[in-house]
């Protein structure tokens, strides 16, 4: 386990094309052209970004069982600032320095950065570094929804939903169901 100290850059970029930040057969995260981005720095290198613009997150939080499918697709418009750790090299070649609107964004980005890195998720400005992505989206109740994809594995934790998936194995916990599925065999608690 290696512990790192992250900081937020003060340079705001604006994307010049539509970008796909993550995609698998289970979900995707996309941002539209003209999305603002500020880098999350580690040892003077960008390790991720905080974005604000028009984006979309899709996740098929569905578990297939031998008794039928449980769950539903989640489709979330991303208009509030959200955070991504991982895949930093995709942004810089496809963006330019923003001229307007950056101060308000920087303040909100700093709040999100503080909440993520210094809040309950990682604490004390340190983070357990790993491969793959971490996305954090602010939900309606003011807390952070987390999406952590890594290869075929996906972990999604939202306000009332936990979805963990790895190929043919999945766990879904929602207010209606608790489902554990392993290659079609399943336990369903209602």
């Amino acid at each position: 386990m290696t512990w790192h100290h992250y900081d937020l850059s003060n340079t705001v970029l604006r994307t010049n094309e539509r970008l796909n930040l993550w995609k698998s057969d289970r979900g995707s995260v996309d941002i539209e052209k003209d999305t603002l981005a500020v880098a999350i720095m580690l040892n003077e290198k960008s390790e991720g970004y905080i974005f604000r613009g028009n984006g979309k997150m899709i996740l098929d939080a569905i578990v297939e069982t031998d008794q039928g499918a449980v769950g539903k697709p989640i489709e979330q418009q991303l208009t509030a600032p959200f955070l991504m750790v991982g895949n930093p090299e995709i942004i810089e070649p496809r963006s330019f320095s923003a001229v307007t609107g950056e101060q308000d964004f920087l303040m909100k980005a700093q709040d999100l950065f503080n909440e993520f890195f210094r809040g309950e998720h990682f604490g004390s400005g340190c983070h357990h570094h790993h491969e793959g992505f971490v996305f954090a989206f602010k939900n309606d109740s003011g807390k952070l929804d987390l999406l952590i994809p890594h290869g075929s594995k996906i972990v999604y934790k939202a306000n009332h939903l936990v979805f963990i998936s790895d190929e043919d194995e999945a766990i879904l916990k929602s207010p209606e169901h608790m489902v554990v599925s392993n290659h079609g065999r399943c336990i369903v608690l209602k």
């Binding site: 569905i62 031998d66 008794q67 039928g68």
Partner: protein, 186 residues
Amino acid sequence: MSDDIREEMKKLKEEMASLKDQLKEVGRGERRHRHGLYVDIGGPVHDYMDDVLQSVAEGVHGELAKSIFIGPGGTRIVMRGRQPNGKSEEPIDLARAAGIMSALGHEHRLRILNELIAGGKYINELQEKLSEITTSTLSSHLNVLEEAGLVVQEKMRGRYLITMPGRTAYEMAAKITSFVKQGEQQ
């Protein structure tokens, strides 16, 4: 005379002893009854046991008939919450129920559900199975089933999957049809 009296006294003592023994036997019977061990079954024990087992078996069979659907995928036990008085916990939402029954009320939609029981399918795979209808009609049927919660479509891959309620609804339709057919044959 004295011999007669002695003989009479001996008979009386024997009768008294016999009465005491009978009294003890009656006392033991009453004690068993008080502790619940004595049961007047009005016949041989094995007949009584047969009656009890028959009654229990009929009760269990009745409950299982209400709780199990047997479909193409095998046997499934459906656990349903019941209040002590036997009524369902929640009153049925009749408008919603009518909507779901309406979604089931088309042969093509039942065939779609039947195809999806075998596993998730893309629309072109369903189109191959229901080649007599157009793609737009098939899409319309899928929308009806999706709105009723009987089918769900993956956003990324686009596959259609039958949901748990969808499977239950299909099995219920199959069961009702089977009952009606049996009724017609009798």
